[in-house]
Every structure is written in structure tokens, then in C-alpha cells.
Amino acid sequence: MSTDTDTTPASAGVTTLTPAVVIVGAGPSGLSAARELAPRVGGEVLVLDRESTAGGIPRHSDHPGYGIRDMRRFMSGPAYARRLVEQARAAGATIRTNATVTGWAGERTLEVTTPQGRLRVEAGAVVLATGARERPRPGRLIPGDRGRGVYTTGHLQNIVHLQHGKVGRRAVIAGAELVSWSAALTLREAGCATVLMTTEYPRPDSYALFNIGGRAFFRPRIATRTRVSRIIGKPDLRAVEIENLDTGARRIVECDTLVLTGDWIPDHELARAAGITLDPGTKGPLVDSAFRTDRPGVFAVGNLLHPVDTADIAAIDGARAARSVLAWLNGGSTPDGQVRLVAEAPFRWVTPEVIRRGDPAPARRRLLLWSDRFIPFPRVVLRQDGKVVARKRLWWPASPGRVFRVPSIMLTSVNPQGGPVSIGVED
């Protein structure tokens, strides 16, 4: 559990490492932070990842659509992951895989398990880049049998792309957002037909990239305003029952594979174990635009903060956060005074959550939000202390299942001494 002071006895056989910076997670965000920090930091920049290969989620997301905004390329997940790893290594960072961070032994001291032994990593700064995962079936409280054949996209892609294993022949995909299309591609590669996609929203979110990329675009049937209400079959999945949320009508769809996509939750265990304040909306650490958490010298980047955005955005977080980490290592202080940014329906969350005068602008000068409703051309409104401080119509939609970006220039007229700023829409 969390300790603020160093109370763990130095037990025998534990190796102590003292890098300048330790980065937890070798996904796009962590690797990009490492690439920027390694040449600029006096001591070691150590990246730890629990997987045996560095690269994070793109390792198993074997389709194009990566690297667009950071590398200005259109590449496959695995190729993108490899490039990030090469860049971080070339910059001088140390990447240790099979290294699972299991807890804290001090303010900026981590406990780590590796096949080479237990480590105690005492760092000058910690960057949490642990990513996000999809909620599995229990977390979604779907009743029914415990049939085999129910996966999340991550699980599915691990099986198909990393282990080259088999799944079934007829799949239902719960979700029709970006990641759901990724699941559909994986199923196709595994020879499994997608017989139906379901979404609780009134319209699906098609993956525009598949059009632009000129790839064979396929359209499975999509049931909108629909949820999976029961799982049928044991020991193997035979069918799912689906329910129309408007009419309550239910029907049975035969399938031997169910992929539960989206419904993200950050991997915030380490942050929580440290007692770092989380944002109730993202469930990730609450950060400012310099990626500081409320524990001094501990930073957070990537999908841990915004479940879930594309990899390039996570990578840009990491690169931006490097500056803040450097400032901290060089004894820089955090500006006084802060304004809290809070999301208002239909927005579920906004990040960064804390704005300070004197801090750098948010990455790409964008606030990131998650909308529960589709709005074609949303008029975004910022309110502070009962007054509208900014209002702006945006020419891109807010769409459930993908991050909605709002120019941070809208914050210009926020009073840095004022109360919390809410961000919502006017219809």
C-alpha cells in the first residue's frame, strides 16, 4: 500500500537502482518521454515495462493508422512500436522489459519484480505511462453463463497477432467506435466473421481512417441503441441476447465469439497506491498542463490521463512532459494558484484538469474531452463564477467513442484567481 516515507526494510537480494528518471510503461507515451529526456538528463533514464517486448498496445494492434500526428506517417501498430523503441534506445534511454512495477517504497521510489530479481528504483522523477484497458465482462455486469469465447479487443489481438491463436467463426462486437473497427479487422484476419456490431448510441462512429487509407472497407450490420443483455452457452459461447434500449425488445443472436470493445478504464493502480488524486471523470491522475500529478516529481502521460486517445496523442504527451520533468530536475517550481477545469454533460471528462498561469499550454494547444452524445457542430461554452468566459462553435463533431478536442485558446479569458471553470455545450 501507499507509504509516504520510506518504511520498507531493505530486504536481502533486492537491487537498488538510482536513475535520474524512471518511466513506468514503454508504450507510445513512455517511450516518447524517454526519447526526449535521455539526451537532456545527466543521469540515467530508465523505462520499465512488464511485457517482454516494449511498445505498448500498438505491438498487437496490427493494422495501419499509427504515427499520424507525431511521426507524420501512416504506419502499422507494430512498425510504429518498433520505431519508438529504436528512437528511445538511440537517444540513450535504458529499456527494461519483464519488469513489473508492483508498488511504492517512498515518494519517488518504486518496487519492481523482474526475472533478474527484485529491484528498488529510487529516482529523481517518476513518469507514469501505464495506459488504459477495456472493461471486461464483469465490469460491465453482463449476466448469463460463463461461456468461453468472450474477449476484450486487447485480449483478442494478443491471441491473434502475438500468439497467432484461433478464435471462433461468428462474432458479435459490442461497440462501434474506433477500437471496435480495429477488433473487426483482427477478426477478419483470424477468419472470423463479424455478424453484428452493437452500439448503445444512436449512430455508429465509423473509422474514417479506413476510408482514407483506401483499405477494403467492409460494413458489418450495426444495431444502434442496443446493448448485450445476456451471454448464453457453457462451456462455450453459443449466442448473446441483445436488447433495444428504446423499445426494450430482445432477441437472440447466435455467435461463438463476443468482443467487448471500448469502455475504457485507465491502469491507475500505481497512481492510486501512491495516494495521488484522481479525476472522477477520467479515473486517471488529475494533472495540470505540465503533466504534474499532485505528488511532487511524479508526472503522468498518455492514455492513463485520457482513456482513450490515439497513440500519436499519447506520444506527444510524453514528449511534452519531458520539458516539465527537466524543469523539476533542475529545481524549477510549480507556479502558484490554479483553476480547476470541470466537464459538464454531455462531456464525461476533460483533461488537463488544472490550469495555471505561467504553465505551458496543453499539448497541441488542445483540451481533450469525452462526449456521451453526438453533436455535429458543437458550440462549446466555458463558464466561471456564474459567467460565460468563452463561447466557440467548432467545425468538427463531438462523438461518443473518440476524444473531442477543444482549442485551449478558449482559456485566454479565464480568471486565474477565479473559481472552477466548467466546460459544456450550448445547443
Binding site: M1, S11, A12, G13, V14, R50, S52, T53, R59, D62, H63, P64, G67, I68, R69, R72, R73, F74, M75, S76, P78, A79, A81, R82, N98, T100, T102, T113, P115, Q116, G117, R118, R133, P136, P138, G139, L141, P143, G144, R146, R148, Y151, T152, G154, H155, N158, I159, H161, L162, Q163, H164, G165, L209, I212, S229, R230, K234, I265, E269, R272
Partner: protein, 496 residues
């Protein structure tokens, strides 16, 4: 022949005539087989399923009961009380994790408040005198996160939580080490008396034996009828449960009980030895003895209860939902009886306390069988009970053990991240006397894939280790290099 190599295969030879066959490799049957194998007897432990502990014993609330609320004077009351101490000692010797959390029974209305003195007195009649009635201030001091409206409570300081999976596996492993033949995948479908022996007709062939012990849980009444009796009927009473993530554990450091009603013990909140928090169970009579699915109604009911009991708990992630079937019967007590003529003993009607009482039931059953004519000559050469791999959070686990990792790097290779299960532990499970027959069995032996991600990260890797039966515990996590797929192209999207 030495004791350990008598028969350690999980699917033993059934050609000989056994002295005793125990039907049912749940906690009760495993405890009975182990007990009988402490004597000069050839014993088989038989089950319809492909693994031990795959029935009700795998899906309960895992509380080691003091028996404070049993019906005084019943056999159940006595065996739960004895079982509490027997299992506590056995756990100490074998390494079954137990946490002495204590329980707090909470009264939410005047009627329940008025029931507390009666419960205290009942506990005393059950031989348990450490309960204490406390006021609301003390209730909230003990459980600060409890929902509003508690009027008072009764403390039961010795109620504890235990690992039901390890308990079942330890007893069955111990039995096998004592020479018991394990006969799996054999559903008993008929029995036949043949000149002083009983032939069990099973889906895996005939098994001949002099004595039979029926510990078939949900199937015990059916088997009882095969022996010509008609004394009880099992009604499967489903109990659904929600398991909350380990991050919820600080909310509930002890068992929080409702005031029991005639329908059962009611919905409780309990920590688990794995560091989770349970909410449940429901109590619903079914007709289908195999329906261990969860239901929409059951989940909704639990959420409604939970919202009142501890609203903060509902903010946490649910990492598992499951249901167990209590073998409820039309008797209000255990139905344990010996039939000397048929050389047959029944241990039935063990509905909601069998985990706790199992070892005491075994003692009692052996006694009855002895009186009925089974010759019980204690063996001198008994092996020590097995040391079981620890699945409990309160005790050191391999991933934390620097010395163990230094000696064997496989304990430093974490495979299941959420539950921190190492490749070494998975390998060990496959090399154990009763290896898992499938993923479910592996989960019960190691906790692999039982965590919050439910396989998002580790599912494929656990599946791979499953196929190699844990070999290659130190190999690379990813067997094939990722192939590059789809070329690179400059993208117009880059500018958005």
C-alpha cells in the same frame, strides 16, 4: 510400497476393488477421502467432473464460520464449531491462507436491533461467547465507509476469511499423497449390489467397492435413491456474488453481516484473502442443478443492497461475477447417516457451511462408518500434509520474494499482471499431484486471469502457458516476432 508412490495420478486405475469409494471431490468428499486414507484401506475419490473442487466448493463466500448463528443443538452447529478449529489448524500446517478479519453484524431497523440480544444468546448456546453488542458510533468507528442508517451491531471477532480453492485442493492433494486413487470424469449413473460389493456404473466405466460414501453435494439425493433410500430432496439455491477490485479493499477490512432471516444469511460484504471485496450472495431456489449463471435480477438486487450497505463500494470496478448453488434440502440439519446393510454412508444436505465444517464432517463420517462395520486400523506411515502455494495477499507471494526469485527466475516473471501471478507458479501448478484440467482449474490454483483486466493483457499468454502445461516458464512472452503489416505512407491526416 511407499506412501507417496501408491497412486499419484489424477486419473487412476479403477480395475481393483476398493475398500471405500467416496463420491464427490468437493471439500466434503475430499476431506472424507483424506480421513479414511489415514487407515489401512484402499480408497478412491470419484467425481463426475474433470477436476477436484469444481462444484459448490469453488463458488461460495469463503467465510470460516464460528457457527455463532447456527441452530443450537443441531449436528450442523456442532460440526461447524469443530470444523472451525480443525480447519484453522489444518490451514496453519498446509499454508491455506486465512485472514482473521472478524465480522460485524449490522442492524438497520428497530426490529433488527431488537434481535441482537437474541443472537448473542444464541451464539452462547452455540458455544461462542465472544460476541458483543455495540452502538452506532462503534459500528461506524469499525466500518467508516458503511452506508447511513446503521442503528447498532454485534461483533463476531473470530469470523474469518479463507481460500476455499486451496482448502479443497489441499485436502484432495493430501488424500492423493496418502494413496487415494483419484477417479475423475466419472459420473455415477447407477449402482448395483453384487455379492458383498457395490458396483458403481459411471460414465467412465464400472468401479467396484466394498463401501461407498456419498458426498455428492447437489447430486447427493439422487445417489441416495440409488441406494434405495427416500429421505430428502436437494433444492439448488443459487447465490450470486459480485467481486470488487482489490483497490476497494480498504473500504471493508472485516465481514459485514446482515441480521439473518429464515431465508438465509442475507447479503453480506466481505473481504477476500485475495484482497478483493465480495458483495452477495442472493438466495434463489432453482430447479436446474447446473445453472451457475448470473442473472439480471440477481445483479440488480445486489447493486440495490450494496448501495445501501456501502455506496462507495459501487464506485469501484467489479472484477468478477459468479454464482454458486447451495445444496439446500427439506431438512433443517445436515443429513449424515450410515447404512450398515448396504455398506453406505450419506453426507448430504450440507448447504451453506460445508467449507468450514468439511474436516469435522469427515471425522464424524469415519466414526459412523466404523460403527457400521468398516474396519479402521490407523496407519503409521502417513506422509506430512502438503504445503500449498500461497494465494493470499496477507502472506508473501513469489513475486515479492527476492530470495526465491534469485533461486528461480521463473518466480520473477510476472505473467498475470493484475493478480501478479508468475510463470513459476503456473509451471508448479502443472507439476503438482493434481494438475489443472483446464483454464478454470488453473485460475483456482494460481489466481491467473482473476484480476481486473480479465485477460486484456495476459489472457493470450496464460493460454499459451496452458497449452505447454507451464513448460517454457522462462521463455519469451511473445513466441513470434511481430510481422510488419501494411506499409508506411505519408498521411494527409497528419495536419488535423
Amino acid at each position: 510400497m511407499s506412501t507417496t508412490d501408491r497412486n499419484t495420478t489424477a486419473n487412476g486405475d479403477a480395475s481393483a476393488t476398493f475398500d471405500v469409494v467416496v463420491i464427490g471431490a468437493g471439500i466434503v468428499g475430499s476431506a472424507i477421502a483424506r480421513k479414511l486414507a489415514g487407515h489401512e484401506l484402499s480408497v478412491a475419490l470419484l467425481d463426475a467432473r474433470n477436476d477436484v473442487g469444481d462444484g459448490t466448493s469453488k463458488a461460495n463466500t469463503a467465510i470460516l464460520h464460528t457457527g455463532f448463528d447456527a441452530k443450537p443443538g443441531t449436528l450442523e452447529s456442532r460440526l461447524v464449531r469443530e470444523g472451525y478449529h480443525l480447519l484453522s489448524d489444518y490451514a496453519e500446517r498446509t499454508g491455506i491462507p486465512i485472514e482473521r478479519t472478524g465480522a460485524l453484524l449490522v442492524a438497520w431497523n428497530d426490529e433488527e436491533l431488537e434481535a441482537l440480544p437474541g443472537l448473542k444468546e444464541k451464539a452462547e448456546r452455540n458455544g461462542y461467547d465472544r460476541t458483543e453488542i455495540v452502538g452506532p458510533a462503534e459500528v461506524y468507528r469499525q466500518v467508516p465507509h458503511l452506508g447511513e442508517g446503521a442503528l447498532g451491531g454485534l461483533t463476531v471477532p473470530d469470523e474469518s476469511v479463507i481460500c476455499t480453492w486451496t482448502t479443497n485442493l489441499a485436502l484432495a492433494t493430501d488424500a492423493v499423497r496418502r494413496g487415494v486413487t483419484l477417479l475423475l470424469n466419472r459420473r455415477v449413473e447407477a449402482v448395483e449390489e453384487r455379492g458383498g460389493t457395490t458396483v458403481l456404473r459411471t460414465t467412465g466405466g464400472d468401479v467396484t467397492t466394498r463401501w461407498v460414501v456419498n458426498a455428492a453435494g447437489l447430486g447427493s439425493d439422487v445417489i441416495d435413491r440409488m441406494f434405495g433410500h427416500d429421505r430428502f430432496t436437494v433444492t439448488p439455491r443459487r447465490g450470486e456474488l459480485l467481486v470488487y477490485d482489490k483497490l476497494a479493499r480498504p473500504l471493508a477490512d472485516r465481514i459485514i453481516l446482515p441480521v439473518p432471516t429464515s431465508r438465509g444469511k442475507g447479503v453480506l460484504i466481505s473481504p477476500t484473502v485475495y484482497g478483493n471485496v465480495l458483495l452477495g450472495p442472493t438466495a434463489e431456489d432453482l430447479t436446474d442443478r447446473t445453472d451457475t449463471g448470473t442473472s439480471e435480477k440477481g445483479i440488480a438486487f445486489l447493486l440495490e443492497k450494496g448501495r445501501k450497505l456501502m455506496p462507495e463500494l459501487l464506485e469501484e470496478e467489479v472484477t468478477a461475477t459468479y454464482a454458486g448453488l447451495r445444496a439446500a434440502s427439506d431438512h433443517s440439519d445436515y443429513v449424515i447417516d450410515a447404512d450398515a446393510r448396504r455398506r453406505y454412508v450419506l453426507a448430504g444436505g450440507i448447504r451453506s457451511t460445508g467449507l468450514t465444517a468439511g474436516i469435522a464432517i469427515a471425522e464424524y463420517v469415519a466414526g459412523l462408518a466404523g460403527e457400521a462395520g468398516l474396519e479402521l486400523v490407523p496407519r503409521e506411515d502417513l506422509p506430512e500434509p502438503p504445503r500449498m502455494p500461497n494465494l493470499g495477499e496477507a502472506f508473501p507471494r513469489p513475486y515479492q520474494d527476492a530470495a526465491r526469485i534469485a533461486a528461480d527466475p521463473a518466480y520473477g516473471r510476472v505473467v498475470c499482471f493484475c493478480e501478479r501471478v508468475t510463470a513459476g507458479e503456473i509451471r508448479d501448478a502443472f507439476r503438482s499431484p493434481i494438475p489443472p484440467a483446464g483454464l478454470e482449474g488453473l485460475r483456482r490454483r494460481t489466481r491467473a486471469m482473476n484480476g481486473r483486466c480479465q485477460g486484456f493483457f495476459c489472457g493470450a499468454e496464460v493460454g499459451r502457458l496452458m497449452e505447454s502445461r507451464g513448460a517454457d516458464a522462462c521463455g519469451p512472452r511473445v513466441p513470434h516476432e511481430n510481422r510488419e503489416h501494411g506499409g508506411e505512407r505519408r498521411s494527409p491526416e497528419a495536419r488535423r
